[in-house]
Symmetry: C2
Subunit: 346 residues, 2 copies
Amino acid sequence: MRIVLDAMGGDHAPQVTIDGAVQAARELGVEVILVGRQEAIEAELAKYDTKGLNLPIVHASQVVGMEEHTMAVKEKRDSSMVVGMRLVKDGQADAFVSAGNSGAVMAAALFNLGRIKGVKRPALSAVYPTTPGHCVFLDVGANTDCKPEYLLQFAIMGHVYAERVLGIPNPKVGLLSNGEEEDKGTMVVREAYQLLKESRGLKPRLNFIGNVEGKDLPAGMADVVVSDGFAGNVAVKLSEGLVMSLFRTAKRELTTGSLAKLALLLMLPGVILSLPGAMLLVPAFKRLAKRFDYAEVGGAPLLGVDGVVIIAHGRSNAKAIKNAIGVARQAVEGRMVAIIKEGISR
Amino acid sequence: MRIVLDAMGGDHAPQVTIDGAVQAARELGVEVILVGRQEAIEAELAKYDTKGLNLPIVHASQVVGMEEHTMAVKEKRDSSMVVGMRLVKDGQADAFVSAGNSGAVMAAALFNLGRIKGVKRPALSAVYPTTPGHCVFLDVGANTDCKPEYLLQFAIMGHVYAERVLGIPNPKVGLLSNGEEEDKGTMVVREAYQLLKESRGLKPRLNFIGNVEGKDLPAGMADVVVSDGFAGNVAVKLSEGLVMSLFRTAKRELTTGSLAKLALLLMLPGVILSLPGAMLLVPAFKRLAKRFDYAEVGGAPLLGVDGVVIIAHGRSNAKAIKNAIGVARQAVEGRMVAIIKEGISR
């Protein structure tokens, strides 16, 4: 299996991308095609022992910046994104992974790979952390104004992804709304509800559980949560911001003021005494931090384009890049694109 | 000042509502008109020393249940909601407070008080906790499909509420969207952006700061955040659910498994030793829990109806009921309805 990595994409590229690629080649046994500025890539690669690893370089002279307009991919024909996408299009690679500007990756995918026949709108998905584990949440930003049939297609694509890539059998599909009842939601959501209800007999057989509310998303009530890209984007960004806000507020409330300082001073001997025990909890704390850190999730798929495209968070670390490559491999092995094709053409 | 309290509204009515009313009459010095089943109210009141307090009862034989359809208020003409609303309409009271079925309260307000002239759609607001304090967030559920001019009116009403009731001078008004740029958002949001931009010269002079993203809401970037009722509802319910999910996941990660149990055992002496210091932090922990507990916020206004209507959370405790009555008093003293009238007629 050959997976293209946009070596220049992400806040910390190419250091972090090359580090992640080396880990992926070593641990996952895949060939990672590094696309980007040859010199920069070679300089990074020299830091690692890459003997026996399959890490070919394909030179691309241009880079699409994180803050650049999406449409830069139209002009930058020799950017790592476009060159990488073409490798997939021409059958020289099986999947494309980037931690770069997500709008630009989407545009590059649309221009170069195109949509799967019958797909109205590709959707950007997120793997969203929930109390029991995670769910596929889509669309999270590609399509702000949606029609009911787009939402139905998002459900089909999310179902295939959850089943084939995340390995969730018969995933529960929920429609994000402002109430559980069938008559809740915008006009579009109410129509989508009916389409989803009627689709129950068709293949792939969707396990549609009805509307889910905002609170049901983190609770993990559904394995696939379908939304338009506006509410979906607000929801994922809100989740990220709220976790940060909670920690900041907690820190402030518990550490400012002379009372708090006195309390911490009084607690010091006890805290020191409990350190050995607390050390044992470090892995659990780390796991916890990871669960709510988007940089660790390892990439979310752009669903509906004719190829496997995985978009990792801009601030991905090396492990997240490796994980994103792992997700890409899983999507190729699970024949994700072929099964979405079948599902959409039904 | 005379404030009507729907004595029968809320998950724990009339116990909690009467408790809150007694506290409000005692601490805020307002007259609280208790509307509901006379016998039930009298039985609860008997538990308190109400000498010198102004707590008249107005009998209403019916109750609109928490799970009943919104339209129940059309049939239940002798429900506490409808009878209470009529007292405001007839000038016998200055404001109405309920912790009951929020959809039903909205319907009762629309049928009995009506909209302020010129207001297209009343909006349900939430006082949303942020890192620096709180913001007014509207609409959070009354209007799922919105037109751009509704959003402009929400901005005006939110501005008046923030300034007059919460006491925030020149509040910053943000429009919830999926990106900061002017061209981000649904078609409706993009048009609303233009309306808000053009409104800058008019009175009340809105301090429009542009689009805010999901992450900016808890960060407190704006004092008033404007949204359609669909995304707004998803956002507030998601916030509530995410805080719960975080605590549940933390508890599970840190307490399950033999390693965690061993760690807690080892930490025990240290924890005991730090208890006296930790006790000093209890008030800070309580403040923190309150900030993210909707039951404590004390009620959010239904803006755009011709009267002061405050809707408290269904699971309000007595203090939240008292706080909601306090919010109602503030809205009356701040001449909120009159100032919204001026703003809308501009």
